[in-house]
């Protein structure tokens, strides 16, 4: 057991600092920067619809959702009912579908064979890969070369709970918690360098976002309510049901009474 009140002294080779601590830190920063640019390259923004009919299919659903959410605050009952009937009719008959009403009931295309859906899933995978691969590589690199080194002493005392966090890879029971192992230094860098990246790459990594924002004059136009593998027809049916059960009230009814109340006359 470590004796209370006495300080453990470990003589570290200064080379540890130059050849382990610094390299790990620099490599972490560089991979962070690299990963940022890799994600920028790999990121495929939600693809705009390829045809007019596809855009209509997507936005028809958003239109229904808008009607459901905003009808109370926007339009009178008669205007609401005509719209509701039109949309429900269209949803049920499938007129908004990309392939027209005839394409209803056809088996959903296998998401593996549909290139558009495939791409959506690939996009998610690519994002995860860009995180995972460098992490595994660097961790195995550190494990292979720098395992078991104690490289750093924190200038403040810590409780014993931090031992597993700060001394992974060094299996000594008696070592003071303030000593940090090389593998733990890697983890600290992994989670703690966010502010450094913000400094280097700009706030919220804006470089990538500007280009995307400019690319679309109308951000809503590219929004895709259908996730990969979701069948538009099913979602239309569900939305039709939602609309059918909607009880309409209008904020316009009695607006003049409220106004008189506000101005108290």
């Amino acid at each position: 057991m470590a004796v209370q009140g006495t300080e453990q002294v470990i003589h570290r080779d200064p080379a540890l600092f130059y050849w382990i601590l610094l390299p790990i830190t620099i490599v972490m920063i560089l991979t962070g920067v690299l990963r940022h640019y890799a994600t920028v390259l790999l990121a495929s923004p939600s693809k705009p619809p390829a045809t007019l009919l596809e855009s209509r299919e997507r936005q028809a659903l958003i239109r229904g959702i808008n009607l459901r959410n905003n009808a109370a605050a926007a339009i009178s009952s008669s205007a609401f009912n005509t719209r509701k009937e039109y949309l429900i009719d269209g949803y049920k008959k499938g007129t908004f579908l990309r392939g027209g009403a005839e394409s209803r009931g056809q088996a959903a295309p296998n998401p593996m064979s549909d290139p558009a859906a495939m791409e959506g899933m690939m996009g998610m995978m690519k994002g995860n890969m860009a995180m995972m691969i460098p992490q595994t590589l660097i961790m195995s690199w550190i494990n292979a070369f720098f395992a078991g080194f104690v490289i750093l002493k924190l200038p403040f005392p810590l409780t014993i709970r931090f031992k597993s966090m700060l001394q992974s890879g060094v299996m000594t029971r008696d070592l003071d918690v303030r000593w940090v192992s090389s593998l733990s230094w890697y983890f600290l860098c992994l989670f703690g360098l966010q502010s450094v990246f913000i400094f280097i790459l700009g706030n919220e990594n804006s470089a990538s976002q500007v280009a995307q924002q400019m690319a679309q004059a109308n951000p809503g136009a590219t929004a895709n309510p259908f996730g990969p593998g979701q069948e538009p027809d099913k979602m239309f049916q569900a939305e039709a049901e939602n609309l059918e059960v909607l009880e309409h009230w209008s904020v316009l009814d009695g607006a003049e009474d409220r106004l008189l109340q506000i101005y108290g006359s």
Binding site: I62, A73, A74, S206, Q213, M214, N218, A221, L252, E256
Partner: protein, 312 residues
Amino acid sequence: MATTSTTNPSDPAAVLRIAQKAPSVLAKASSVSTIFPASIFSSADSTELWQDVEQLLYACLRSGDDESAFLCVERLSDRFGADNERVMALRGLYQEAVAKDDAALRTILEDYTKVLQENPIHVPIHKRRIALLKSLGRPQDAIAGLVEFVDSFPTDIEAWCELSDLYESQGHISQAIFSLEEAVLITPHAWNLHARLGELEYMAGTSSSDHSEIRKHLTQAVRRFSRSIELCDDYLRGFYGLKLASEKLLGAYSSAKANADSTIPPEKLQQLSRLATSKLEAIVKERTGPRSSAGNESEVIAVQQLLNSSKG
């Protein structure tokens, strides 16, 4: 350039003030570098800057500073590429602005059509084409184009509002109301759209001949204006419309005489009209006062005329 959002965009003086900032904004835009090592040291490549450049382009075109406008377009296409959808539309806008005559405009229209044939979902060019049709004096074609457009993009507010205006210019008030209602459905808290709908309902009410129709539309108009004031305190347009609509509706009640199935009782209408009058007087007093900020003067003058005529 932060002033763009606070000042009235339809105020020519404000536009001119913005256009005069051209050199500083352009200098900032041209110093931006996006390549990695330089991007740390040069000025930030922020979204705001490029939005500023875009606003500057509009302001320059409106104030007749075509050279600065050209530079804006150049900067934008340097940064985002000449085939960027939005940059293409802005370039088209610039070309329309410097076009000499109708023949030149027609060639631009053909260019737009060509672009759309290659890429039918090019939203900004779609809109430019429709706007160009409108400015060529072919509102029917513009309406046809817009109807096609909103069929494919039914959640585009801009298109619905434009369609409403076009219908109104052609005298199809009920279609205009429908289109604007679609826009309000997307942004239910836009008080200016509510007031605009009130204006359209008022127009529908005044142009109709059937008594029950008139009353229906005018009631709706009163409610729309009330809603817009509810959403935005001291909204001049809302009060103006409220005064007109409630007085008109009172007139409609008295001319119909019998069957008093009025949804808004006449006493309430009188209250509303009185409220609107007093509010309008207060607003006029405030805006014409010595410490008034430079607001939209034409609106104030119109209100003054309305108040004078109702007194006399």
